[in-house]
Amino acid sequence: MAKQAAGEPAPDFVQLLTPDGERIERATGADGVEYSVDFTDEEYRGLYRDLVVIRKLDAEATALQRQGELGIWASLLGQEAAQVGSGRALRTQDMAFPTYREHGVLYCRGIDPILPLSLFRGVDQGAWDPNEVRVNMYTIVIGAQTLHATGYAMGITKDGKVGGDDGEAVLCYFGDGATSQGDVNEAFIWASVFHSPIVFFCQNNQYAISEPIEKQTRIPLYRRADGFGFPGLRVDGNDVLATYAVTRTALDNARHGQGPTLIEAYTYRMGAHTTTDDPTRYRIASEVEAWQAKDPIARVRAFVEKQQIADAAFFDEVDEQAKREALHLRERVLAMPDPQPLTLFDNVYPHGSPEIDAQRERFAEYLDSFEGSAH
């Protein structure tokens, strides 16, 4: 197979909704399985709502960064369908292991969007409770979480929680750049030989900061799975329906004891890698425009309009909701207090450490030595 380049059409993917909003009834994946969805009108509207709200929240976070309220922001712009499609496919009992860009997945899990913002503001390190929200903390080291996810999935098997509809599965996110990391490849090996209930979900957004996909691979990424002994397939990552369909099936297979799947969601990062990045240095405007024509939200809107399952009032109401949530988020970010200095020493060790205790004490005395201090 010829090498692929960023922006090149990818014909070998599962697509259920064309960029023009045409519904494709069913599509066969590279794994030979036929995929389709059967959503109610209400559910179609719900997906549209998710996509619009998370794009708006993301834009608000970008604006907050520009105004100096966040240290940095990793935008999901363009990847909404990949995240909503996969995130909505999770069941309550499943566990997700994200990278630093999966704000849409968190949103789909019902997680307060303020949580990742404290990480990017520098108030904490993303300290939500993974056991409670069932999404692990964001991982900054590229690929590291794929091993944690695999180990967690091995634990599910040990707990006897696979083999039925009520089984648990793990959904593990990473980028195209991450596929070059040793950890990701080791995770593939472990998941395969331990036959673990895990779905590897690679958002191929075509770039690892400035490096295009051809700096990571000479073959389509989903075909890597072959070499590790489990199915891999590519989905149109800008198509929320197809992404949902393939992820749901893969998660169901995992929970029923059929082992791992690799899904490559073929998508595009419309904005910068993070707010510190300047994408004009490494990509051309025409490429971005070509992807704009495949926008994940526009096609759902075109579809629901054509189907007449939503009217102008609905679209207005969704925009209103998005604005409201964004404003609420902004207010809460601005009100977020800095952590107290002495919390620096909290939670280094579950059983504590005399050295840390001594350092905390000395630091407290030092702080007290300033007149009028009340730390």
Binding site: G151, Y152, I156, S353
Partner: protein, 325 residues
């Protein structure tokens, strides 16, 4: 169980066995730990008795061993990972220092990774390269990890169980060249994990060691006693956090201190300890704290390791030098 004489290797095995028996969440994972019982046979017979679901042979990938153990720990298991040799821990280094060490802090205490990373360390077995290293300083430098080293059968038995029941992630160093040394093990003895221990009382100088060098330090003390010099010997046991209070007390009495380790001296544990003793015992010191260590070279070929490794004579020479100040 009655007190009995065991080797360090057998004591570790017995400790692991007891941990597996007392908590179904304890897992052992690593390369060759199953049928073979590990290259040093520390896990001998455990897979036979506990099954391959609890004593797991893993693929040959150290980052994978540690990284998946993290996931298992998050899930509620207590993995004990065996790194086959010290020099092979580096592929897992990132997972250990960036993930294992920081999960608890990062999550503000919501995610614990109660795991043990067992590393047979140190030289003196005539091995090829990467099989004789002392990487403890890399880990002791990382907050969030606790680092210990055992040196006797009793500690091997007790400390491995303490490490496994601890919610702190622990890097557990085993003195591989001492695996066959025997000693009394009382299964009912209890004492804290993170505490240094005076293993020989003395009045003239304090000698500090851990892991394989404890034996060397004791031998040096025996030799010194024949010449009428009484050395007080401490086994640090815990490398992070350090337990230095009893050592300060000793140095204030003896006025002299020699720190012994196999690892190179540059930015090693000896440097830290010398600095701390200087801060705390400055007015009691008759001489600077001296270090007897491996050299700042890569671990040499086997025919040279005798020159590299601190031995009884180098320890005694350092003690002599503290008297010549």
């Amino acid at each position: 169980m009655m007190a009995e004489k065991l080797t360090i290797g057998k004591a570790l095995n017995a400790g692991l066995r007891r941990a597996l028996e007392s908590d179904p969440k304890v897992l052992i994972m690593g390369e060759d730990v199953g049928k073979l019982g590990g290259v040093f046979r520390i896990t001998d017979g455990l897979q036979k008795d506990f099954g391959d679901d609890r004593v797991m042979d893993t693929p040959l990938a150290e980052s994978g061993i540690i990284g998946t153990a993290i996931g298992l720990a998050i899930r509620g298991y207590r993995p004990v990972c065996e790194i086959q040799f010290d020099g092979f821990v580096y592929p897992a280094y990132d997972q250990i220092v960036s993930q294992v060490a920081k999960m608890y802090y990062r999550s503000q205490g919501k995610v614990k990774v109660p795991m043990v990373i067992r590393i047979p360390f140190g030289g003196g077995i005539g091995a090829v390269e990467h099989h004789s290293e002392s990487p403890e300083a890399y880990f002791a430098h990382t907050a969030g990890l606790k680092v210990v080293a055992c040196s006797s059968p009793q500690d091997a038995y007790t400390m491995i169980q303490q490490a496994i029941t601890s919610d702190d992630p622990i890097v557990f160093f085993e003195p591989k060249r001492r695996y066959h040394e025997k000693g009394e093990v009382d299964p009912d003895l209890t004492y804290p994990l993170h505490a240094s221990r005076r293993v020989r009382p003395g009045t003239d100088a304090t000698v500090l060691a851990y892991g394989p060098m404890v034996r060397t330090a004791l031998d040096a003390a025996t030799a010194a006693a024949e010449d009428g010099r009484e050395l007080e010997v401490f086994d640090l046991r815990t490398l992070s956090p350090l337990d230095l209070a009893p050592i300060y007390e000793s140095v204030r009495r003896t006025g002299r201190c020699v720190m012994v380790h196999e690892a190179p001296s540059n930015v090693g544990l000896g440097a830290e300890i010398a600095a701390r003793i200087t801060e705390e015992c400055f007015y009691s010191l008759e001489a600077p704290v001296l270090r007897v260590t491996g050299y700042d070279t890569p671990y040499p070929a086997a025919r040279l390791e005798e020159e590299f490794l601190p031995d009884l004579d180098r320890v005694l020479d350092a003690v002599d030098r503290t008297f010549r100040w």
